[in-house]
C-alpha cells in the first residue's frame, strides 16, 4: 500500500450551523409550504369576513321578500344604456320578474333587460351594529338605492338574500370552531398535562375516560345531547351549549397529544437539567415544556377547528343543533335538506356548501403546514 502524501487541506472542525432562532426556522419552513402559506391568508380573510360581515353583505340577511321566493342568482353587468341610448360603464344587475305557471304551479324568473338596478361601492343600506358599539349603514357593495334588492347568490324560500346570509353565517360557523377549540384547549391541556406529568392512577383514570369517550360513536351521542336542548332556549345559550357538545370530540385527541408530549419530555435530559437548576415543577412546565410543544399544539388546534365546524354543520343540518333564526352555514344547509328543493334551487346547496368546503380545506392546509413546520423530522 502506498502512503498518501497529498496535502489535503485541513479545515477547522467548528462548523457553525444556522444562527436563526427556532421560531424563525419554523417560520421559514412554513413559508416554503406554498399552499399552507396561501391558506394562512385565506383563513385570515374568512375570519375577517366573520368580523365585518354586515359591512360586506349587500343586504339584510333577515329581510324577507315575497316577490323573490327561490329567485336564482343575478349576474353583475358592467355596461348599461343611459337615457340617450349610449352605452356607458355602470355596474348593475337586472331586475328579475317572477312568473307563475298556473298549470304546474312552478315559479320561473325572467330577467328584465330594461329594468336595471345600479350597483356601487360603499352604498347606504340596512342598518347594523359595528362590533356592538355603534350603528352604521354603509355596505361595501350593493344596490345604490337602499330600497332595491339584489340576489347575487339567489334567494331562499322566504326570498331572503343567500349571499348576505352566507356572509352573516360565517360569524357563527367560524366562531364555533374557535370557541370549541378554546374549550378543548383548556380541558385537553389541563387533563392531558395532569395525566402526563403526574402519571400513576390519575393518568390511568383520565386515559380510561378518554378511551371510553372515543369508543362511543359521536353522532348518536351528540344527537342525544343536542336533542336535549329545549327549543325555547335563547339563541345565545343554544350556541354555547352546541359549542360545548361539539368540543367534546376535540379535547380527547388534544389531551392524548399533550400527555404524549409530557411523557416523552418528562424524562428528557433538558427537563431534568431544568429541575436541577432549581426550577419548580410549575416553572419547568411553563418555561421548558410548553415552549417545546406549543408549536405542535397550535398545529393540532388548527386541525381541530375544521372538525368542529363540520360537527356544528352536521348537527344544525339535522335540525338538532343551532336553530333558526341563528344563521350559520349548517342552518342554511338545512333549507337544502331534500332533493326537491335542491333541484328547484341548487344555490341553496352550492353557496353554503362551497363556503364550508373552502373554510375546512384552507384550515386543514394551514394546520398541515404548521405541523410540518413544527416537526423538525417531518418528511
Amino acid at each position: 500500500m502506498t502512503t498518501l502524501s497529498s496535502n489535503t487541506p485541513i479545515q477547522d472542525d467548528t462548523e457553525v450551523p444556522n444562527v436563526l432562532s427556532p421560531w424563525a426556522l419554523m417560520w421559514r419552513k412554513f413559508k416554503r409550504h406554498k399552499i399552507a402559506f396561501l391558506s394562512l391568508w385565506l383563513v385570515g380573510l374568512i375570519y375577517l369576513m366573520a368580523l365585518i360581515g354586515p359591512f360586506l353583505a349587500p343586504g339584510d340577511a333577515a329581510d324577507t321578500n315575497r316577490r323573490a321566493i327561490f329567485q336564482p342568482p343575478q349576474g353583475i353587468h358592467f355596461f348599461a344604456e343611459d337615457a340617450e341610448g349610449n352605452s356607458r360603464f355602470q355596474l348593475h344587475a337586472k331586475q328579475m320578474k317572477m312568473q307563475i305557471d298556473r298549470s304546474t304551479m312552478r315559479r320561473t324568473y325572467v330577467a328584465d333587460e330594461t329594468d336595471i338596478i345600479p350597483l356601487g361601492f360603499f352604498v347606504r343600506g340596512s342598518e347594523y351594529e359595528v362590533l356592538g358599539t355603534f350603528k352604521a349603514d354603509v355596505h361595501l357593495f350593493g344596490p345604490k338605492d337602499p330600497d332595491d334588492r339584489v340576489y347575487f347568490f339567489g334567494a331562499d324560500r322566504l326570498g331572503r338574500d343567500m349571499m348576505s346570509r352566507i356572509i352573516i353565517g360565517t360569524k357563527v360557523s367560524m366562531s364555533i370552531g374557535l370557541v370549541g377549540v378554546a374549550v378543548s384547549l383548556v380541558v385537553g391541556v389541563a387533563l392531558g398535562g395532569i395525566s402526563g406529568f403526574y402519571g400513576g392512577w390519575v393518568d390511568n383514570l383520565i386515559q380510561r375516560l378518554i378511551e371510553f369517550l372515543r369508543s362511543i360513536p359521536t353522532i348518536p351521542l351528540w344527537m342525544g345531547l343536542a336533542a336535549a336542548i329545549p327549543l325555547g332556549w335563547p339563541p345565545l345559550r343554544t350556541y354555547f351549549v352546541v359549542t360545548l357538545i361539539v368540543s367534546m370530540i376535540g379535547w380527547t385527541s388534544l389531551a392524548r397529544e399533550v400527555r404524549g408530549k409530557f411523557l416523552a419530555m418528562r424524562d428528557e435530559d433538558f427537563i431534568i437539567a431544568a429541575r436541577l437548576d432549581g426550577l419548580t415543577d410549575w416553572e419547568v412546565i411553563r418555561k421548558h415544556m410548553v415552549p417545546n410543544f406549543s408549536s405542535h399544539i397550535i398545529a393540532s388546534l388548527t386541525l381541530a377547528v375544521p372538525l368542529m365546524i363540520l360537527a356544528e354543520t352536521s348537527l344544525s343540518f339535522l335540525g338538532i343543533g343551532l336553530q333558526p333564526p341563528i344563521i350559520s352555514w349548517g342552518t342554511l344547509l338545512k333549507e337544502a335538506q331534500n332533493i326537491r328543493s335542491i333541484v328547484e334551487a341548487p344555490w341553496l346547496l352550492i353557496g353554503p356548501g362551497a363556503m364550508i368546503v373552502a373554510a375546512v380545506l384552507t384550515l386543514n392546509f394551514l394546520g398541515d403546514g404548521l405541523r410540518d413546520a413544527a416537526d423538525p423530522n417531518a418528511h
Binding site: M1, T3, N18, L20, I272, A274
Partner: protein, 587 residues
C-alpha cells in the same frame, strides 16, 4: 463451501476510482465522498477509520449502491471483479439494477451498527436469513431453513433451532448482531462490509463480535471492510487502514505503519488525542487544532502534575439500593422489581476525580442519579458534606433542601443535544440557575454568563444564540458552563464525553481538568470507557450488574485489578496499539 483456492487473491475484489458521492439538499450540495481511490482485496481486513461526517459510511454504501436519497454518485467508478473474471462498474449502473442486486447479499454483504433497527422488527430472525438464502441460491425452503439454523449455530447463538423462531426484540444486542452476521454470511460473500458493527455494543460483547468476524474471515478467506471511528478497534483487527477526513482518504497503509509512523498530520493528531489505557499519565491530551496548525512540531506531552492529597469526604454513600418496579398492567400491580443498584458504599473526597465505570445496565447512571437526588435510593444513605453548610441527607431531603443542594452539586449530561432546551437562548440556558439562586438583573446576569462562556472557551458573542447554532463540542462546553454557573463544589459528569468524536473529546477532557484546578472542583466521572476514566480519574469504582465489584486507585488499576470482572473488562478494551493485539483476553 470456501472460496475456490484457484481464485486469484491478488486481484482486488473492488476497485474504486475517483469516487464522488454528493447529497443534494435544500441548503445546497454536500460532498460526502470526495474523489476516493481504493482497492479492496480478498482475504484482507481493511479498516476505514474516520470521525463522524468523514464520509466513511457513505463511501461503503456507495459500493453497494444503497446510499439514501438525496445522495448520488456524481463521479468515478466502482469496479467489481466477479470470481469468474467478469467485471462490472457498479457506479455506472442504476441503483436497483438486477446486476447490482445480484451482487448485493451474495458477493458483497453488509452488517450495520444498530442490529435492533437494522433487522426487520416484526419478521422472525430465521425468516430473514432464509429469505436471503432463497434470494440468491437455488435451494428448497427446507434446505434453506436447515442452512439458516447451521449459520445461527456457527455465529455462536445457543439453541439455534429455537432462536430461528425469535423476533429481533427478543434477543440481546450481541445476539442480534450475531444473527445479522449469520444473515450476511448466508450466501458466502467474497466481501463483508461491516459498518461500525460493534459501536452500539458493550466492550466485552464488542470483543466477541470482532473476534467472530476475524475468525470467519480466516475461515472463508473473504475480504472484510470494517468501518469504525474507534482507533482501538482499528488497531485490534486491521491489516490495512484507510484514514478518511472530510470525504477524502488522507492516508492508507498497513496497520503497523499507520500506528507506528503516521504520515499525515490528521492521522498523527487523531492518534495523539486518544487517551491510552495504562502508560504514562499525561497532564493534558494534545489538542487537535494545535496539532494541525503546527504539524511538524507537536508539543511534547506534559507529565501529569502530582495530584493534591485527598481532602475530607464530600460525599458519603452507605448501603445504597435502587429498585425499579417492572411489569404490571393498567390495573395490576408491578410483577417484580429490578435491582439496579445493590448495596453500594463509598466515599468521595474533596478535590479528587472519582470515576465510576461499567457496561450498560451496570447501574452506574442510576447510582449517579441517586446521588443527585433525581431518583432517590430505595434504601441507604447518601450524605453531602458541603463547606460552611450542614450535612444534607440526599435520600430524605425535601424539595426546598434539594434545590439548595443542586446549587452546590451540578451535573453534566451525556448528550449535549438533548440536555439543552432547543427553545432557550444561551443566556437563559446557562444563567437560569444563577437567576434562581441569586436575584440578578438582566445586565449582571449577562455579564456573569459572558464570563462563564469565556471560561469554557466560547465567545461571549454567543450569548443570545439558541443551541441549534452550536456544534456538538460547543454544546458540551455550554453544558459545562451551565454546571459551573452556581460555583458548585461537586460536579457529576454522566458519560459527558461519550457522544463526542475523539479530538473533541480530548478538548472537553482538557477543559474539565483546567476548570477543576481553577474552581477547586470535585468530580464524579461516569463512563463506560475505561481509557477515558483512567486518563482523568484518581480513583475508579467498577460496577457490574448493580454491584460495586472493585474500588481502585489509578496505580492499582495500572498494576492489575483483582476482581475477575475488572480483569475481563480491562482485557476486552481495544487498545490503540497493534503491537498489543495478541495479548490474552480474560473472560
Amino acid at each position: 463451501m470456501l472460496i475456490d483456492p484457484k481464485t486469484d487473491l491478488t486481484k482486488p475484489l473492488v476497485e474504486i476510482r475517483n469516487l464522488k458521492t454528493e447529497f443534494f439538499t435544500e441548503d445546497g450540495v454536500v460532498t460526502a465522498v470526495d474523489g476516493v481511490d481504493l482497492d479492496v482485496m480478498a482475504n484482507r481486513t481493511m479498516v476505514v477509520l474516520g470521525q463522524s461526517g468523514s464520509g466513511k459510511s457513505i463511501m461503503a454504501r456507495s459500493i453497494l449502491r444503497i446510499v439514501d436519497k438525496p445522495g448520488k454518485i456524481t463521479q468515478g467508478s466502482i469496479t467489481y471483479n466477479h470470481a469468474d473474471g467478469r467485471s462490472i462498474d457498479l457506479a455506472a449502473m442504476r441503483a436497483g439494477a438486477p446486476e447490482v442486486r445480484e451482487i448485493r447479499g451474495k458477493d458483497i454483504s453488509m452488517i450495520f451498527q444498530e442490529p435492533m433497527s437494522s433487522l426487520g422488527p416484526i419478521t422472525k430472525i430465521g425468516q430473514q436469513i432464509v429469505e436471503t438464502i432463497l434470494l440468491h441460491r437455488k435451494v428448497t425452503k427446507v434446505e434453506a431453513k436447515e442452512e439458516a439454523i447451521n449459520l445461527l449455530d456457527r455465529v455462536g447463538i445457543p439453541r439455534p433451532a429455537e432462536r430461528f423462531e425469535a423476533y429481533p426484540f427478543e434477543l440481546s444486542g450481541g445476539m442480534r448482531q450475531r444473527a445479522m452476521i449469520a444473515m450476511a454470511l448466508s450466501c458466502e460473500p467474497r466481501l463483508l462490509i461491516a459498518d461500525e458493527p460493534s459501536t452500539a455494543l458493550d466492550v466485552t460483547t464488542q470483543a466477541q463480535i470482532l473476534d467472530l468476524i476475524a475468525e470467519l474471515k480466516e475461515e472463508r478467506q473473504m475480504g472484510v471492510m470494517l468501518i469504525t471511528h474507534d482507533m482501538g478497534v482499528a488497531a485490534e483487527v486491521a491489516e490495512d487502514i484507510v484514514v478518511m477526513y472530510h470525504g477524502k482518504i488522507v492516508e492508507k497503509n498497513d496497520v503497523f505503519s499507520i500506528f507506528d509512523a503516521p504520515k499525515h498530520p490528521y492521522t498523527r493528531a487523531l492518534l495523539a488525542s486518544v487517551p491510552k489505557l495504562g502508560g504514562q499519565r499525561v497532564h493534558r491530551l494534545p489538542d487537535i487544532s494545535q496539532l494541525l496548525k503546527n504539524p511538524d512540531n507537536p508539543p511534547a506531552p506534559i507529565p501529569a502534575k502530582p495530584r493534591p492529597p485527598a481532602g475530607e469526604p464530600i460525599i458519603k454513600v452507605r448501603n445504597v439500593n435502587v429498585e425499579f418496579p417492572v411489569g404490571g398492567g393498567v390495573f395490576s400491580k408491578p410483577t417484580g422489581t429490578i435491582q439496579a443498584v445493590k448495596d453500594v458504599s463509598f466515599d468521595v473526597y474533596r478535590g479528587e476525580t472519582f470515576g465510576i465505570v461499567g457496561e450498560s445496565g451496570s447501574g452506574k447512571s442510576t447510582l449517579s442519579r441517586a446521588i443527585m437526588g433525581i431518583r432517590p435510593p430505595t434504601s441507604g444513605q447518601i450524605e453531602f458534606l458541603r463547606k460552611d453548610k450542614p450535612v444534607s441527607e440526599i435520600s430524605s431531603a425535601g424539595k426546598a433542601e434539594m434545590r439548595d443542594v443542586w446549587r452546590d452539586m451540578r451535573m453534566v449530561f451525556q448528550d449535549p443535544q438533548s440536555s439543552l432546551n432547543p427553545k432557550l437562548r444561551v443566556i437563559d440556558l446557562v444563567g437560569q440557575c444563577i437567576e434562581k439562586a441569586e436575584a440578578l438583573g438582566r445586565k449582571d446576569l449577562s455579564e456573569r454568563v459572558s464570563k462563564l462562556l469565556t471560561q469554557v472557551g466560547l465567545s461571549p458573542e454567543f450569548l443570545l444564540r439558541h443551541p441549534n447554532a452550536f456544534s456538538g463540542g460547543q454544546r458540551q462546553r455550554l453544558g459545562v458552563a451551565r454546571a459551573l454557573a452556581t460555583r458548585p463544589e461537586l460536579v457529576i459528569a454522566d458519560e459527558a464525553v461519550s457522544a463526542l468524536d475523539v479530538p473533541i473529546q480530548a478538548q472537553v477532557l482538557n477543559l474539565l481538568q483546567d476548570l477543576q484546578e481553577e474552581f477547586a472542583l470535585t468530580y464524579i466521572f461516569i463512563s463506560h470507557d475505561l481509557a477515558v476514566v483512567d486518563h482523568i480519574c484518581d480513583r475508579v469504582a467498577v460496577m457490574y450488574k448493580g454491584e460495586m465489584v472493585e474500588l481502585l486507585t489509578r496505580d492499582e488499576l495500572a498494576a492489575g485489578p483483582k476482581h475477575p470482572y475488572t480483569k475481563s473488562l480491562l482485557s476486552a478494551v481495544p487498545i490503540p496499539d497493534p503491537h498489543q493485539r495478541d495479548r490474552k483476553r480474560v473472560s
